[in-house]
Amino acid sequence: MGVEVMIYIYGAICFSMIIFNIVYGILMRRSEPRMNKKIKRLQKKIDVQFENIRAGKPVDSKHLNYLEHKCKHVNYLIAFNEILNGMIEKENVVYSQYLYQIRSVILYLAVSYQKKENMQAGYFSYFLIKYAKKTQLPIDSIQDILLKYVEKDNFYCRVNALDALYAYGNTDNVVEALKIQDDQKVFVHEKILTEGLLSFSGSHDELIAHLWKDFNQFSVHTQLAICNYIRFYSGKYKKEMLEILQDERQDKELRLSAIRYFGKYTDDSALKILLAFAKDKDPAHWEYANVAVSSLARYSGQEVVDTLKDALHSSNWYVRYSAAISLEAHHVDFSDLIDIVAGNDRYAREMLMYRLETAQLQKARG
């Protein structure tokens, strides 16, 4: 009897699966024409408002109400985005005017989507990323709402909201948002944070200064993203990076990032430490040695060349490889390397020869 009941239950599930497949198939076939209809209908209304703007009139309040009412539904917001996307290149002045005049709608929608499920909130943030600059919304009015989006425990919603804040280009908001995302509820990869910060549309110097002021309030994970970001934009933080470099209690990745910083911005005080890292033969410290050897490519002097030649004898493959590349950057004369080429260390010799070969292949490519 129990088995029969199970067969019936599974039969019911199968039946519902068939119905689902059929209904979904039909809906899918209809979805495109329905979206096109929405776009056409919306386009007509927007065209009228464009005419008004061209004639020097403001956007009709009825139109604003209409947008508020319709774009609360995500499919209409998608249609609206499609239309705006298509017009972005055509009529820049009228288009910007239109976006400026519908600011109240955007604000209304920001509040409305904040209460919706995460995916829809994520889409609204994406919408904002695209039109942030054009709408010129007073920053204060939308910042609190976007920060609430960052608070949501959904990866994409957070990333999209962060991107929208970067697009608005307000330093305080971005720092605040970074602090919120640091709550450990959702992991955001440091690459995403760094790339996001690089897309910031405001003053990078100002943002870096603010981030550095609050540096110790961030987790190591976010600190690493900030350090990497600073490396791309500013050579003014040598003193601060030197402190990280010298502090053995600091996280390994942070110190490695600091070494990379001095690979980009040379500094006499850092050179000593870089040389010490490069000379360190402890296999447990190979990552420091490797990054330091790479960074030494930008430093000149006989001690640097000698250290790099010595690093060619390292027991670690990566250190040897980086040393060969850095020596190449120093344009060391072949006669200076004869002791390695003719020496007993096969590993050092092989690495040097390999690097010479690949350099030739790369040159041949141009």
Binding site: C14, M17, N21, M28, Y126, K191, H221, T358, L361, R365
Partner: protein
């Protein structure tokens, strides 16, 4: 005597009822969860819940090759067409007896170099190394002594420069956005050590620069049935296992791994035939024994197109190989079974693979013998048996089609009415005939398998329609 048979059949009946309840419940759950996940992913993408900027995690693609002169050039060209910036391609020619290396050298103007290789995992000696920098990304060809696929992969890992590597088959084609999609879980979660890609049969599909330009059900019956089987058995179940970090298989045709963890775990095991499954199980064991916080993910939208065998002989060869690999991995890591130390991987994944993958062919064949015996002693209700079989075929067909259509709907592929007719007609044939043929093949796979250790499982290849 009849009473004795009756008693025996009663016990067998109870066993099969429990077995089928377990199997059907799993199948229903996996197809339901799998399909709903696919629809959810589609909605997520529609609502732009995705990464909009280029976040490039550097990746080394390792392509082990053995006698692949027919397909290798097209495969490497497809890799060069990938929409990704930071990667390198490493082809390891495992001592091919054909012109695999020569084809590559000529096609990509490769030059011999004296590259030193860091041996962090044991593998056979290299014979020659070639490199080229003429293309979008560096390409390296390593020709080494024959040592099997696992050994070739280990060589590729040793030679790779980046922190993540991808293993793939030389006869497969990656979709243009597959690298971006397979890397995404690494950016979404900080503890990902491996990501499995979705492997799909490309028979009947035309691919241009990694884009599908026409999709049809294959013209031959056998690959057609495999398309349905892939969706029901592989796609759906892997999505379900992914929900609780329980995936113990990442197909050798397309998977991404964190190099440092793979090296720490000892790399691929060249003494097994199913090196792909063996590595994933080994990673579970390694991470759990070292109390590491880890995730093994499955990326449903990272797509790799591969050739499904078109002849029954090749299909049997492939399945025999898979079954031996399964047997080797499961016996090697038998301590995982129901061991709380290994969490849900030991209690659900291992148990499922043991009962419904490793032992299922024996159980199914035993079931058929029991039916024959019961028929001989007149202890079977034939009309009920036929009805029960038809219910099984009907329900399983519906599940196959649900998984199939979920995949088709969610990647916006358009099928012709002929394709739909083929799918509907052949799923019943696959469940009522092919399944039992393959059960027999798998049941007999273990006879004399030790002789075939380290051999490359080759099936007849055609040039992929890649333009």
């Amino acid at each position: 005597m009849t009473d004795f048979f009756k008693m025996i059949f009663d016990y067998i009946g109870i066993f099969f009822i429990l077995y089928l309840i377990g199997y059907s419940s799993f199948l229903f759950l996996s197809v339901t969860v799998g399909s709903s996940t696919l629809y959810q992913v589609k909605r997520r993408n529609k609502l732009k819940n995705e990464l909009h900027q280029d976040y490039y995690v550097p990746v080394s693609i390792v392509v082990p090759a053995y006698n692949e002169e027919v397909t290798i050039e097209a495969s490497i060209r497809s890799l060069l067409a990938l929409e990704y910036k930071l990667y390198e391609i490493i082809i390891v020619d495992d001592g091919s007896s054909d012109n695999t290396s020569a084809v590559l050298q000529n096609a990509f103007h490769m030059q011999k170099v004296s590259r030193p290789i860091q041996r962090r995992i044991a593998c056979q000696q290299e014979e020659a190394i070639y490199e080229t920098y003429e293309f979008k990304v560096p390409i390296t060809l390593i020709r080494k002594k024959n040592g099997g696929k696992a050994d070739a992969l280990n060589m590729g890992i040793n030679a790779s420069k980046y922190p993540y590597f991808i293993c793939m088959d030389a006869d497969s084609v990656l979709q243009y956005d597959s690298l971006e999609k397979i890397v995404r879980p690494v950016l979404e979660e900080g503890n990902v050590v491996a990501v499995g890609g979705a492997v799909r049969p490309c028979n009947g599909t035309e691919i241009q620069d990694g884009h599908v330009i026409s999709y049809h059900m294959p013209s031959k019956i056998l690959p057609c049935m495999q398309v349905l089987e892939y969706d029901r058995s592989f796609l759906a179940s892997r999505i379900l296992f992914d929900k609780f970090n329980g995936s113990i298989i990442i197909s050798g045709a397309f998977g991404l791994f964190k190099k440092s963890v793979v090296i720490a775990a000892g790399g691929y095991d060249s003494s097994t035939m199913g090196e792909d499954m063996e590595l994933v199980v080994k990673l579970h064991v390694f991470c759990r024994e070292h109390n590491m916080d880890y995730r093994i993910r499955y990326a449903t939208d990272a797509i790799c197109w591969t050739q499904a065998p078109e002849s029954l002989r090749d299909l049997c060869k492939q399945r025999r190989r898979w079954h031996i690999g399964l047997f080797q991995s499961m016996t090697r890591h038998r301590r995982m079974l129901m061991n709380p130390k290994y969490g849900l991987v030991g209690c659900i994944s291992y148990l499922y693979f043991l009962i419904y993958e490793l032992l299922s062919p024996y159980i199914e064949i035993f079931g058929i013998f029991t039916i024959a015996l019961a028929f001989a002693v007149d202890l079977i209700n034939v009309p009920f048996m036929i009805l029960f079989f038809l219910i099984y075929v009907l329900y399983s067909s519906i599940l196959s089609l649900t998984a199939f259509f979920a995949r088709i709907h969610t990647i916006d592929l358009k099928l012709t009415p002929m394709d739909v007719i083929k799918a509907v007609g052949l799923c019943a044939l696959e469940l009522s005939c092919l399944r039992f043929i393959l059960a027999w093949v798998r049941a007999t796979a273990l006879f004399g398998y030790k002789k075939k250790k380290n051999a490359w499982g080759k099936i007849e290849r055609k040039q992929i329609k890649f333009r």
